[in-house]
């Protein structure tokens, strides 16, 4: 009975989305329902998280069929934490979009698409079946296509064509990879696949499957050399949509790598591929972050850098590196959302996206300025703030495994991250006040952005309390026997 609650974070957003479709053109009612739905989802997710923290991995066999034959939801601490974080972030983004998404977009099923996207995300985080993972990927991708095109401006039309094309191809390869894996092991349940793959001697075919899966997930996560779609596609949609894409969508790709790589393909070859790709992702992300004067582009390239750092941590797969990667991924979800929101307010006020076309905002908007300053420091990982612990553990693990060059690149990258965002701060907030300042209302946006930054700060300050949680999550990832013992019990 207890484990039935695992479906709630998936089912509630889906039901709310269906209800929202039937409510015609009353934005206020839509806003209230969307907010209430998100809030209930977040509460259920928090309940699940606490439950799993107390009782260990929870599993639900849908339809009460026995385990390898049914679709299972297997939720460990990492999945539960992801579900909780994505629900909370979506809740805040909903409030943020009240003032920043235009009324036209709200009228055309904006909130319904967001709810469906949350359903897909939560499903992808909590499923225990590889084909079901594909289906949930498609659910949130389909909603992301709609969100990317909603409004139908020229730039959105042009960029969503490319975005959809890339995702259709990578989804086809996902099915292909599942087909290959099915022909090798004859099972679709992740725990079952893990146990069966361990018995197979022929490693080369498994490596090929692994490379296919990495190709698919690297495309979703925006890793080198498959990041080419990301900067342009994310540039097109309006800020709240960009916030949920930047904070959550790429992280699902990373989560899928975190899930499949330790369970299925734990070999030396795969480790080297992942680490090399991660380091190259960091380097190319740094180049992009330095190259542009456009605030949106700078933060978009910062997403890539973070993806690289997290994958570098995941690839080594020691407890320390996994701990660092998990710290860093949650920190990054929160801080990227905060940064995009703050930059959204700056663009809302000044109407400029290039940082050197405005200046002197600190006199009129001191709260915005200092919040942005704290967010930049937190992004770079200055010790009391949240970015520090993740990077510390990742660098420590890299050094202990003798990847000295990689460790240096990770450290230098945080310097470049700091430079790239502090440039925005210096140019936009200091200097001569520019005349072009609109007086658009932005109070709700401001409150949410401050809440987000506050969340990032508390995440850093109370890292000590979160440590046991993340440590346990890291151990269940590095040692998959806890995950697969669900199978053995049966």
């Amino acid at each position: 009975m207890m484990s039935n609650s695992l479906v709630l974070p998936i089912v509630i957003p889906a039901i709310i989305a269906i209800i929202l479709i039937f409510i015609g053109k009353q934005p206020v009612i839509k806003r209230i329902i969307a907010f209430a739905g998100m809030f209930i989802t977040a509460v259920c997710a928090a309940f699940n998280l606490i439950n799993i923290k107390q009782h260990g991995i929870q599993m639900l066999e849908l339809g009460s069929w026995q385990i390898p034959y049914s679709i299972t939801l297997s939720v460990d601490l990492l999945s539960a934490a992801f579900v909780f974080t994505s629900s909370v972030i979506m809740l805040l983004i909903i409030v943020y979009s009240y003032q920043s998404i235009s009324i036209e977009r709200e009228r055309y099923y904006y909130y319904a698409s967001v709810m469906f996207m949350l359903a897909g995300l939560n499903g992808a985080f909590s499923t225990g079946d590889i084909f079901n993972l594909f289906v949930f990927f498609e659910v949130f991708l389909m909603s992301s296509y709609v969100l990317m095109i909603i409004g139908g401006t020229k730039i959105q039309l042009q960029e969503s064509i490319k975005y959809i094309l890339v995702n259709v191809i990578s989804s086809s390869f996902f099915v292909l990879a599942i087909a290959m894996l099915y022909s090798v092991v004859g099972s679709l349940n992740m725990a079952d696949i893990s146990l069966k793959l361990a018995k197979i001697e022929n490693n080369s075919i498994i490596t090929i499957c692994a490379v296919m899966f990495i190709f698919v997930f690297a495309t979703k996560a925006g890793m080198f050399p498959l990041y080419f779609w990301l900067p342009h596609a994310y540039y097109a949609p309006p800020i709240p949509i960009l916030t949920m894409f930047g904070a959550l969508l790429t992280k699902v790709g990373i989560y899928a790598i975190m899930r499949t790589y330790p369970l299925f393909f734990r070999t030396e070859v795969v480790e080297n591929i992942l680490l090399t790709l991660a380091i190259l992702t960091i380097i190319f992300g740094c180049i992009g972050a330095l190259a542009y004067r456009d605030m949106k582009k700078i933060v978009i390239y910062n997403i890539m850098i973070a993806v690289g750092v997290i994958i570098a941590g995941v690839s080594i797969l020691t407890t320390d590196s996994m701990l660092g990667a998990i710290y860093y991924i949650f920190h990054d979800i929160i801080i990227k959302a905060a940064l995009f929101m703050l930059i959204g307010i700056i663009i809302h006020i000044t109407g400029e996206t290039a940082y050197d076309r405005s200046g002197g905002l600190i006199k009129k908007y001191p709260v915005l300025g200092w919040t942005f300053f704290i967010a930049t420091l937190s992004l770079a990982g200055i010790p009391p703030l949240s970015g520090f612990y993740g990077k510390y553990y990742i660098v420590k693990a890299l050094l202990s495994e003798n990847h000295v060059l990689s460790a240096i690149i990770v450290l230098v990258s945080s310097l470049i991250v700091l430079y790239s965002v502090i440039r925005i701060f210096i140019n936009v907030f200091w200097g001569e006040p520019s005349t072009a300042v609109k007086h658009a209302p932005y109070s709700k946006m401001m409150v949410v952005s401050c809440l987000m930054t506050l969340l990032a700060v508390t995440f850093g300050i109370y890292a000590d309390y979160l440590f046991p949680l993340f440590h346990e999550a890291a151990v269940t990832i590095t040692d998959p026997s806890q995950y697969t013992q669900i199978m053995e019990v049966k």
Partner: protein, 114 residues
Amino acid sequence: MEIIMIILAGILVAAAVYLILSRSLLRVIIGTSVLTHAVNLLLLSMGGLKTGAIPIYGETVKRYVDPIPQALILTAIVISFAITAFFLVLAFRSYKELGTDNLAEMRGVPDDEQ
């Protein structure tokens, strides 16, 4: 039999890649649907193409074909159908709005001017 199917899927993938790399948007969309055909074919043949009855329960039947890949393909077909429909409408809309179907002319994001 599997070998023939795999070669056929390979030809379809090659055709799809050629189409996707072309400039016209409609060719690209045709390419994506050819690619999903190839993938579905491969999914079917990866499950094994041994002879057996269709997977509908009958009293006298001894051997069935594997029902799982069929269920997977059914799901994948519906998903790719939905995406293709969406993509086609998007192509139509962008043709009306932008006046071109040449992908090389679709430069959406402005470059930084110095």
